[in-house]
């Protein structure tokens, strides 16, 4: 039964290989992309129910025993992330059918998307830090190509910043893995969790912890390492920005959570958690201040990604069960809401021909339903009850108050207000304001020229993710219990270690 754990990695890989054999067959690519992401949804749901029903799933690849071979481990946290990834993969597959042009499809857009999903799923599943590095690279290489695919000047310019900073962080990651191996003689996370408290020479431990914090900090886009994100995320096609916005930074946050709960407990690296606390507040503030200044919808949303990462890091720094549960809930809520907002920005651009809020307006009159589709994720992001963002913030802030971090909680509340403000800014500018270019008829827009099938493919993902945001808010209790379980597993690494090292066969 544990073998199911390889499917989230294997399915995208096989489908990408099949697609590459038929580079000209766009229909096959689209169909495979949708089918495989649907299958990923099913597989990850089955894995989640397995994990919730009993034990942590683990598999020793190639049958090599735990500390020597590579382990794949799926605990509640991993499974929740897999479900979210599969959902975003599925909606993006649909959205890509509606928006990606033929030229990109012929240049391996769909296989790259699959490889990106493979890298992300691998990063969530692996129980080995060097293997984590490899999955990060798989994910990053696919994302580099997706980012430049099309080759427009601004894409290349954005990609230079994105690629350079990510390469830098990969080099740091590699060095950190090496030093940690030199100190502990193991790469297996479960084994590390056991050995690190027993290490005799602890001087370098803090150095390694900081190196990991920097490398994952770059990937997660925390202050002051986030500058690559708003410089690049608005340049590729909307479907690509959306999947990056939803998933890529969260992989960094996931890696941070995994590293600083399972592997480095607060006893091992207390000051890292202090540091994370300070960084989280600054991340929230700089992100949101960057956002309120923007007029390009996608740049505004990109800065918001940074701001929201701050909340997740804040929750990680607190380290209480409620905080970690809140962090996980926040990640899932943010993945759905953020991706959705990018999808909506794509719809707006197709209707009005621009992402620039100064050039568009008057969308509410002719398209009231689009207004609703925008408001659900936007208000969800700002934290208006009963949408999912409200519960996410409530959990994180309550945990913050319990841990007596009043300053950061105050900052988080103020940032919430500014988030709401910038969402209202989009609402006012794009929807309520009179159209600055009234001579352009809505009937002639790029969107109306599309065939009905493509329109459906663009709207369906927005509706689906909107429903997720509403549902996670209305049925909070079951979602909370899953997050709570994930948090208790993280704080008590015992079952994780037992599942990896004990499951020898």
């Amino acid at each position: 039964m544990n073998r199911i754990i390889v499917l989230p990695v294997l399915l995208p890989f096989v489908s990408a290989v099949i697609m590459m054999f038929f580079p000209r067959s766009a229909v096959l690519h689209r169909a495979l992309n949708v089918c495989v992401t649907l299958a990923l949804c099913a597989v990850s749901a089955v894995m989640l129910s397995d994990v919730l029903g009993g034990e942590i799933l683990s598999l020793q690849v190639g049958g090599w025993q735990a500390p020597f071979g590579i382990s794949l481990v799926a605990d509640t946290l991993s499974c929740v992330m897999l479900v979210a990834t599969a959902l975003i993969g599925f909606t993006t597959a649909l959205y890509s059918i509606g928006t990606i042009d033929r030229e990109r499809e012929h240049h391996y857009y769909h296989p790259l998307l699959q490889l990106l999903l493979m890298g992300i799923n691998g990063a969530f599943l692996t129980g080995d830090i060097f293997n984590l590095y490899v999955w990060f690279e798989v994910m990053l290489i696919s994302s580099y190509v997706l980012m430049v695919l099309g080759g427009r000047p601004e894409q290349l310019e954005g990609a230079i910043k994105y690629v350079t900073l990510n390469l830098l962080s990969s080099a740091i990651f590699l060095a950190a893995v090496g030093i940690l191996y030199g100190m502990s003689g193991t790469l297996n996370m479960a084994d590390l969790a056991q050995r690190i408290p027993l290490l005799e020479h602890r001087e370098l431990l803090s150095v390694v912890a900081v190196l990991f914090m920097i490398t994952f900090g770059v990937k997660a886009a925390v202050f002051p390492l986030f500058f690559w994100l708003p410089a690049s995320y608005h340049t590729p096609p909307v479907a690509v920005s959306a999947v990056f916005a939803g998933l890529m930074t969260k992989v960094g946050v996931y890696a941070m959570i995994r590293m600083f709960t399972t592997v480095f407990t607060p006893d091992d690296a207390a000051f890292v958690h202090q540091f994370l606390l300070a960084v989280s507040g600054l991340t929230m503030v700089t992100g949101v201040l960057g956002a309120v200044a923007q007029y390009d919808m996608r740049r505004l949303l990109s800065f918001h990604i940074v701001s929201q990462i701050g909340y997740m890091i804040f929750a990680l720094a607190i380290q209480s069960p409620l905080a970690l549960a809140g962090s996980l809930f926040y990640i899932v809520h943010n993945i759905a809401a953020k991706t959705n907002l990018f999808y909506v920005s794509g719809l707006v651009q197709r209707l009005k021909g621009s992402f620039d809020l100064r050039e568009i307006g008057g969308l509410y009159g002719p398209f009231p339903l689009l207004g609703l589709l925008f408001l659900v994720p936007a208000l969800g992001l700002a934290g208006i009850p009963p949408l999912s963002g409200f519960w996410a913030k409530l959990m994180v802030l309550r945990a913050g108050l319990e841990a007596e971090h009043y300053l950061t909680v105050g900052v988080a509340l103020a940032v919430s207000m500014l988030t709401l403000f910038s969402m209202i800014k989009i609402w006012n500018e794009a929807f309520l304001k009179d159209d600055p270019r009234p001579d352009q008829s809505n009937e002639e827009s790029e969107f109306h020229a599309l065939r009905t099938g493509r329109k459906v493919m663009m709207i369906a993902p927005v509706v689906l993710l909107g429903l997720v945001t509403v549902a996670a808010g209305l049925w909070f209790e079951p979602v909370f219990s899953i997050a709570d379980r994930a948090a208790s597993e993280l704080l008590d690494a015992g079952s994780y270690i037992e599942s990896v090292t004990g499951a020898r066969r």
């Binding site: 430049v148 080759g151 290349l156 230079i160 910043k161 590699l174 060095a175 030199g182």
Partner: protein, 117 residues
């Protein structure tokens, strides 16, 4: 030998950091390559390279006596070199294409995606 390796790593990191901070794209690429090599050598060095004792169990023994050369770091470096090679090749092509498209190799002039219009 460890001292020599440590010195080389230090020089590579210093040179890499210096080059990455330059405005010219070519120098940035070299800087990234240096940093990658520095990381690889770091792995090699921190795992205490041992000369002349390969990790083979002697014929009539059950285990090999310490110290022996740990083969794992070399496997890690091999993987990292392959990944690094691929990514660096991609980066060089990306930088070349950017140079052709934008007509400049001065990174300070590439700020259109960073500024408010």
């Amino acid at each position: 030998m460890i001292l020599l390796l440590a010195l080389i790593i230090g020089v590579l990191y210093a040179a890499g950091t210096y080059l990455v901070l330059r405005r010219s794209m070519v120098k940035v690429i070299f800087g990234l390559i240096f940093l990658g090599h520095a990381a690889n050598l770091t792995i090699f060095t921190v795992a205490r390279p041992t000369k002349g004792v390969p990790a083979f169990v002697p014929e009539n023994a059950l285990a090999i006596a310490e110290p022996f050369a740990d083969p794992l770091p070399q496997a890690l470096i091999l993987t990292a070199i392959v990944i690094g090679f691929g990514v660096q090749a991609f980066t060089i092509v990306l930088f070349k294409r950017t140079y052709q498209t934008l007509g400049t190799e001065d990174l300070d002039e590439m700020r259109s995606t960073d500024t408010l219009e």
